[in-house]
């Protein structure tokens, strides 16, 4: 392999967004006719790096070589000119148009619009690689996997010979994944280069020739897939445990509070999101939920909070005296009144729980506007609460009447978590509470959660950073593909072991 000239070489690529470094001095070679897997946890910079190759972002520093020639890629169109096409996780398709119309959209061919000719050419591509789509079908009639196929064909139609797929299997069923992989192998046989971004070890083993591992924006190393094993890949992926010195007080009088039995949830597309999940969350402890994003964390929390339709299983709320009450089937308001509070921080921060255009007091009121007996809402208490949250959590805001959307991310999160804590919950569900926060704000949130735990609240903490989970949580439930891969004690848990559980059910290092 060493004597071959790489089709694409990246040298010293660095990209920063504000103060976060997404990629640091990355070198990467991509060869023709191979399937290369980029492996790494969420936020390890895989997607950012390839976005620079496909013209979405522009690197702050570094060089890109294509067939040995240095190039600059400023837009997706320029990337196409070099034969590079990327298939993103979010499809860019016009719903009411046919596959053909979508595929030729934006092409500036000369002469009359020839839909028939284009359809024929698309059929030819489909036949060559084994795609199964009808060029004349409308996009809105297609399944997710068919839409993905259209995106891939679109890239091929434009003559790309380096295809980049960003987590293509995230939205697919196992059968669809197998089909996709078969097609990708066909493309490799035809001499195309395929780069696939993933965090699933079995997929890396399944499809790739070579795997490159990223961690926290840096290139860690590469391996020939055949010569490696899941243990080695996980070690590279999660790295050595880092000591963060997060406080972890002992659990206070732990008693079962939320008992989950055999919980199964399907998404609207019919994909199983949670499969027979069972565990118990105790009062006075922090239960961490670990897992690669999209392993069912969101569905789990929403099922407990009454926001998600459940196919099977039970969620019990256990009183101090041991009586159980079923939560499934109750509406979210009832569940909330029982003392279950949900603070979910989505990627865009404002999507769930807070209204961007409303100010702090009004956002506090979202929880309390039903209280009181007069026709007028009680504005005084929410106002006091907002003042309290601002002082207690050191929310940096020009005033209580500032729309939440104008606050910085960390402050928005403090408001959200602060409000949920203020309702004196029995159960506190938090997801990604420290997403995008700087170190100080993160530690403040950790100590808030610890305070809740010490006052006897059952805290369920869904986190992204394994290091944090290992130091903060008393017990950790590891999810993998919607199933419970294992439950470990937070104290003394081994990072690599948990990492392996996240990527492979049960976490055994034996090769399948």
């Amino acid at each position: 392999m060493a004597e071959r000239v790489p089709a694409v070489s990246l040298r010293g690529i660095t990209k920063t967004f504000g103060s976060t470094v997404a990629n640091k001095n990355v070198d990467l070679d991509i060869y023709r006719g191979e399937i290369l897997a980029l492996l790494g946890e969420n936020g390890s910079g895989k997607t950012t790096l390839l976005n620079m190759l496909s013209g979405i972002y522009y690197p702050d520093a570094g060089q890109i070589f294509i067939d040995g020639q240095e190039v600059t890629i400023r837009s997706p169109k320029e990337a196409f000119d070099y034969g590079i096409g990327m298939i993103h996780q979010h499809f860019k398709l016009v719903d009411v148009m046919t596959a053909t119309e979508n595929i030729i959209l934006g092409l500036k061919d000369k002469g009359k619009l020839d839909l028939k000719g284009a359809s024929a050419k698309i059929r030819e591509i489909c036949e060559k690689y084994g795609f199964q789509i009808d060029p004349d079908q409308k996009i809105y009639e297609m399944s997710v996997s068919q839409k993905q196929t259209v995106e891939i064909v679109k890239v091929l139609y434009r003559g790309a010979d380096i295809l980049i797929l960003d987590e293509p299997t995230a939205v697919l069923t196992p059968q669809e994944t197998d089909k996709l992989f078969a097609v990708l192998r066909n493309m490799r046989e035809a001499g195309k280069t395929v780069v696939i971004i993933t965090h699933k070890l079995h997929e890396v083993q399944d499809i790739s020739d070579r795997v490159v591992v990223f961690r926290k924006g840096e290139y860690i190393g590469q391996m020939i897939t055949k010569e490696t094993n899941p243990q080695k890949m996980t070690d590279m992926m999660v790295g050595h445990a880092v000591t963060l010195n997060i406080e972890r007080p002992d659990p206070v009088d732990p008693k079962p509070r939320i008992q989950i039995e055999g919980l199964t949830v399907r998404s609207e597309e019919g994909i199983v999101k949670l499969d027979d999940v069972s565990f118990t969350a105790n009062s006075g402890e922090i239960l961490g939920i670990a897992g690669i994003s999209g392993s069912g964390q969101k569905e789990l929390l929403e099922a407990v909070a009454g926001l998600q339709k459940v196919e099977a299983g039970h969620v019990y709320y256990v009183e101090d005296d041991g009586t159980k009450e079923e939560l499934i089937g109750k509406d979210p308001l009832e569940i909330q009144k029982m003392g279950v509070a949900l603070s979910f921080v989505p990627e865009d921060r404002l999507g769930m729980g807070l209204v961007g255009n409303m100010d702090l007091s009004d956002n506090m009121m979202l929880r309390s506007f039903r209280e009181g007996h007069s026709v007028f809402t009680d504005r005084k208490h929410p106002h006091d609460l907002a003042e309290h949250v601002r002082e207690e959590l050191e929310v940096n805001t020009p005033g209580l009447s500032t729309p939440v959307r104008r606050l910085s991310g960390g402050n928005v999160q403090k408001v959200l978590v602060g409000r949920e804590i203020a309702s004196a919950p029995k159960v506190l569900l938090t997801a990604y509470a420290v997403r995008g926060l700087d170190i100080n704000s993160s530690y403040m949130i950790y100590s808030l959660l610890n305070k809740q735990k010490q006052s006897g609240v059952a805290v369920i903490y869904v986190g992204e950073d394994l290091d944090v989970l290992l130091e903060l949580a008393d017990r950790i439930v590891v999810l993998c593909g919607g199933k419970v891969s294992g439950i470990v004690e937070g104290r003394g848990a081994d990072k690599n072991e948990v990492g392996l559980m996240m990527t492979k059910l049960g976490g055994g290092s034996d090769l399948a």
Partner: protein, 331 residues
């Protein structure tokens, strides 16, 4: 017996302004711009044509001194220019400044009607006539010139050949618009812009250019509807507020025709017929019944809105991003 030979030409004449308006609005909406300023644009188109022709008639003095080409070209040019400026104003506000499309459109309608009435009033004062209207008979005669054989071919001539050139132009423009939207690359890109600007942007289509072009061309076409109304239908007589609410009917037609200008040809004739049906139904001395018949186009519009809203087929729905501004950064 219902007098079809008299009824159809009247219905067609009534339908042409609606057809211009709905063709223009359809093109605009396909780019994702909901231009509720169309009634105002049609007013502006009409009054600008009137101003042009008024100035030219005045400059020449007698009808004999008027150049036949200029008689038509000057009002046409003024009309298109006025409508274009309205279109540019709308685009500047909604595309460049990303103002709310509904508010902008309504404001432009109010503005357009006021603009028409203001300059109409000024011209009426200039003529010094007793009646509150301006008659531009020389120009109107040029616009209303029909095929020479219209009078000699009996009912065929009456139904098919008895219109001025703007009526035939309306139908041709509608057919061309339908062809471009459905069959050409430009149309494909235009639809993509209206359906999903982010997708179109990613495919390298210039969103701003398409929105500007579609809206401005749409406004110019709609403006011609106003010109046709004054010069042909109203025989060159401008009186304030005479154009009425045809602009709103034109927008209703867009929904009625499920965004297809070719369907609009027949639909507008249907609407035109309903508009004047009361003149052809013997109602005797009971004027109240006449008023009921006058309601017909509006009732049909409401019924059609209900029916089209119930249809669930995706192709018959409005462009998905209709009424929304596009920010690239907000992807």
């Amino acid at each position: 017996m219902f007098d079809f030979v008299a009824f159809i030409p009247r219905a067609v004449a009534q339908s042409i302004p609606l057809l211009y308006g709905s063709t223009g609005e359809t093109i605009t909406q396909k780019s994702g711009n909901l231009n509720l300023g169309i009634p105002g644009v049609m007013y502006v188109g009409a009054i600008c044509g009137v101003i042009g022709s008024f100035l030219y008639e005045r400059a020449c003095g007698t009808p004999e001194a008027m150049n036949p080409v200029l008689t038509i070209a000057i009002p046409l040019f003024f009309c298109l220019l006025g409508s274009l400026l309205m279109g540019l104003l709308y685009c500047f506000l909604t595309v460049t400044l990303r103002a709310n499309q509904n508010v902008t459109g309504l404001a432009m309608t109010t503005f357009g009607v006021g603009f028409g009435n203001f300059f109409g009033g000024s011209l009426i004062k200039l003529t010094g006539a007793d009646v509150p209207s301006i008659a531009l008979s020389a120009t109107s005669n040029a616009f209303r010139r029909t095929f020479p054989f219209a009078a000699t071919t009996g009912w065929v001539g009456k139904i098919f050949f008895s219109y001025g050139f703007l009526a035939y132009a309306a139908i041709i423009i509608a057919l061309i618009a339908a062809h471009i939207i459905r069959k050409t690359r430009t149309g494909l890109h235009l639809r993509a812009v209206g359906e999903s600007p982010a997708t179109a942007d990613a495919a390298g289509i210039n969103i701003t250019a398409y929105k500007y072009a579609a809206t401005c061309i749409g406004c110019m076409i709609a403006g011609l509807g106003g010109l046709y109304y004054v010069m042909d239908y109203a025989c060159g007589v401008w009186s304030n507020d005479a154009f009425g609410d045809r602009g709103w009917l034109a927008i209703a037609l867009v929904i009625f025709t499920i965004w297809r200008p070719d369907v609009g040809i027949l639909a507008s004739i249907l609407f035109g017929g309903l508009y004047i049906l009361y003149l052809f139904i013997p109602t005797g001395m009971n004027l109240a019944v006449k008023e009921l018949y006058k309601m017909l186009p509006y009732i049909v519009t409401i019924v059609v809105l209900i029916i089209t809203s119930m249809r669930n087929k995706r192709e018959n729905q409005p462009p998905a991003s209709l009424g929304l501004s596009y920010f690239r950064e907000e992807r």
